[in-house]
Subunit: 160 residues, 6 copies
């Protein structure tokens, strides 16, 4: 288990990555929106479902590119790919987001922000019909690259 590298000596700091090697990095995240009982596959036309899913995916890609603007201690990264998958399952909107870079630091936050904005965009677009909708979780599923190599999240919440 590591240290709080962003709180060295009790101060909020960026991590100095100037001496780290550049390696290929991948991170996968997941998020889930609970509509509060509305089954979107039954309530929305096929066209509206596709439109909703496309808007969610585009918002995730655009957001991942803005990670270092929103998360104060993140480094700017040259993203090489962002992918987002969206599925409607009963009363849930299930989101996955993958980010890739070749860099000195990981892309966890890019993947996480992509999933978070995807979930918020979904919430925004259904909230007039589903005012009690809630984002149920956002978490990292796995990451690769850098000193720590491959890591997979084994907590229950992410296996949903």
């Amino acid at each position: 288990m590591g240290d709080f590298t962003h709180l060295a000596k009790g101060k909020a700091v960026m991590v100095d990555v100037s001496l780290k090697p550049q390696t290929a990095r991948v991170a996968k995240s997941a998020a889930c929106v609970d509509t509060g009982g509305v089954d979107l596959q039954k309530t929305l036309s096929k066209e509206a479902q596709r439109e909703l899913a496309t808007t969610i995916r585009i918002s995730a890609i655009c957001a991942a590119k803005k990670t270092s603007e929103l998360i104060p201690l993140c480094h700017p990264l040259a993203l090489e790919n962002v992918e987002c998958f969206v599925q409607f399952k009963n009363h849930l909107i299930v989101i996955e987001c993958t980010a890739k870079t070749s860099g000195k630091t990981g892309v966890e936050m890019e993947a996480m922000l992509g999933a978070a904005i995807a979930a918020l965009t979904a919430y925004d677009m259904i909230k007039s019909k589903c005012p009690g909708a809630t984002i149920r979780h956002i978490g990292l599923k796995s990451k690769e690259g850098g000193k720590s190599g491959v890591w997979k999240n084994t907590t229950k919440v992410m296996s949903l």
Copy 2:
């Protein structure tokens, strides 16, 4: 229960608010980060706890101001206040965010994005120590203003 105003005729659209009256609006959201077992009050110095909490709060305020840049169908709003509260409780980071405006449309998304970025900033700052940390929920607690008046979320997840 309303319609899917953002999916009129099966297309993703902004809602035309040009003919709506300008009213005072407030929205409150909540988010919760599960550290995965680490009690930050026991693990971090008082100074580091304060630094973490301040960084989280500042990130929420800055993010709320960027809502219309990130959520594709949101209108730009003249925010009149954003407040964020952060508490460390055992293995949880409990976040609340309030947004205010006088406008033709609500500030739900500003409050929600504030809480979401606060949660992501918290995750970013603890992830070297707590790699299995997860955002447990993000949801709207209440809103006021506009045609629908006062609304409170009564679902269980938000009472946590």
Copy 3:
């Protein structure tokens, strides 16, 4: 015919709108991308056509909200609606964009930037297949509101 209000006394200046009244404003623009011979309705699946059109429309809405960041002498405006329409006609992609606000200055540039970014997004998404694609025109079709009232563009290029 007016003056060059942005070049008063030979200097590039914003126009001081502090004493102007706030009125309802609408502006409509059009743009056209020539694929260079490829008929997208024949070449792309229905699903890909919809996906292309949705991405173009979302990019227009997001771009219109960023107008004052990109056009140096534009005022920030509280946009009340942005709409974008996309049609594939033989070898053309025909784009229309409408912007609305209640403000002290017009929304022409918001409508124009929306159409321009829609056209550039279309170009970006087809350029691997249609390297010779070109944006054929971007222009204002009409505007309403403010001192000059209703104005319609009667030049030939816009009647295409």
Copy 4:
């Protein structure tokens, strides 16, 4: 002739460039604004012409740096140079824009967005005097670098 790489399997996607080599890239674009009959060299003082041209050029440089924020499926790129040239010729404003990078993907969109925003800034600054002004074309003139090597646009519209 290539495929629609941004519409693989009918979905709008970024292109995964993680395995591509980094090469020197250059792209040149052109745009043309038709003032609708006004000859700026006769109507504007030398000082105002220079001020207009400088503002146009600066707007192009600043815009090219924001390409990945505006075009949803573009990768962020470390631009190494952006140049913009502006000429007033009778009733036309002729714009050229060149972008350079060393990267895994091309700079076409940076050059195109630079020229587009230059044209829109020109339109914005003359529209009070030339309300019927129109952007006549925006297109890629040439590009170098990457797998496809040197490419020149041979369509007529770009030879204007």
Copy 5:
């Protein structure tokens, strides 16, 4: 003399302006760059001086519009005008910036940020020739509007 309204109860907070009336606001700031001995009027051609001054002025206008993105506790404001003046005097670059709005809070920070970015842009553009150049001061000259009415800075540094 007022309180530290941004540090109420020891926490960094936005000021809640929701109940304040909207009034006309003006703020004027000044900044000064010391070239470290180089007289730009003697060293640069007239054309280069104009180009430098125009770039500085445009950067100030664009920056003032981004104030609430950069200063964490600032409210977004609908700027109605930003003006910037630049003069070369011996080894000094003298900058003034004026911002106007009709709002619930003042435009001091917009005027200050405009002047600061103007000074930094000047520094950037001369630093290859004048590596020891320094920004000598940035300060508010006066403000009008709101509860406190007209205020003028009477400290010596600003009379330079």
Copy 6:
């Protein structure tokens, strides 16, 4: 002493860095805010002082990442670290900012903008109590990397 590389042939231009080698770069800047007589260590609680200092530091880090958006002729840079130090000394707020990258061009402007926004954030947060507060200087202390190697500022103003 170098040339005005940003004003080649009398035009404001980016510097073409495409052929420069990538080297490790560091730049250190300093800024100083004069409160106009208020001793913050005596006037503010310890908690408020820390909160002020943290907000200032976070604003510097976030701003440095936005340098190429604000300074027209700056290249985008992959920042590898930004650090900001803040000290309250009698009636002064003393700020230092360090930026690091591995790139084809220097990080002076990132360090300078970090210090400038830190100073403006400080000014914003104390101005209700200290209306006559002024930024006293912003300057580069030293830089390393690139063709010119190590450089230290020896002018008096920076030794304050």
